[in-house]
Symmetry: D2
Subunit: 110 residues, 4 copies
């Protein structure tokens, strides 16, 4: 992790590669497959919030079972996103640093 790094996902990237290698899953992890899998997980994240109003959504952490479920779905989105970045050659840290720099120009602080 360098001085300017915003995120260090190098160990997660390596762990996911090892996980795929050990299960012979690399052949399934094409970019398009991973985008579809990502959508599946985002759909499960949406389901958690679909019938909650904003107040109930803000108190979701009060219910341990729901909170664990939320944690799992957020993790799943992150796992597939990290894997998608890896198979397409995207460096997550460089990508977020560039995007935040662009956002800072697009949306100046008030």
């Amino acid at each position: 992790m360098t001085e300017n790094s915003l995120i260090d996902a190098s160990r997660l990237t390596a762990a996911l590669q090892r996980f795929a290698d050990e299960r012979d899953w690399n052949r399934y992890h094409s970019p398009r497959n991973l985008v579809l899998a990502l959508m599946g997980e985002v759909g499960e994240l949406a389901e958690i919030f679909q019938w909650l109003d904003d107040d109930a959504a803000a108190r979701l952490g009060d219910d341990p079972a729901r909170f664990t479920h939320l944690q799992e779905e957020i993790a799943d989105v992150l796992l597939y996103l990290t894997r998608l970045a890896m198979v397409t050659g995207v460096d997550l840290d460089a990508a977020v640093r560039d995007k935040l720099a662009k956002n800072a120009i697009k949306y100046p602080a008030i």
Copy 2:
């Protein structure tokens, strides 16, 4: 970053909080809003791949403009996901470690 950390998003989380503070955006960053915003970005990611076959998708990095676009959309998904984790109190590193441990049991190595 501790010895067992798989991802360190603490600096990104802090940078996004500062970014929201400086623009008075915290009131917009409810969990449900962030899930909808995440979907918007996943939709843009899907659009990149929608008319490509698997071969063309695998060669997407050969086209610098498309690769930059991909990088930006992956970053956007990661930014909203990190922000969603923050406002719901989910620790991304703990979440991915727990999920990988569960996955290792669910899908034994071959």
Copy 3:
């Protein structure tokens, strides 16, 4: 159904309204809730195709269980979309006629 109608969803719209009335579900069917529910169903649709290559996807109908599953997920997307149109006052037939007219201008026939 008038002469220019492309789709007639009036009976489905009425059936869904009756279904919601009989279960006291109208209070849950806000536009944002329905968009989140729609995302959930699109995620389930994506899951059907996530590990299939294009050839396997094209032959999905050969497997009756998978085909039934596909049919159900397509139906679920349509049900939530019809319901979203209803609660937001969008006429599905007018919407698709307008959009096809715009598309015909945007993408001239070759």
Copy 4:
């Protein structure tokens, strides 16, 4: 449209087939491509609602520009869904009738 039909999308299905034929688009309309395109449109639908609270979302129809945008995105979702049904051999009317029958058993009226 038979007595038990809930939706009649036969003319829309035929119009979309003609539209694809006239533009030589059939080769792009594989099931997986259409699912990705559908995700793109659902993402645009989500963007409309992402920074609105439930009250503002319920009043969206008061703003003609936003309402037109909503109408277009709902249409786009319906167009790709109808096309997906067509290329996978799913009969939309049969699919929604079956699903509503299953839902009526799963969620008895109160």
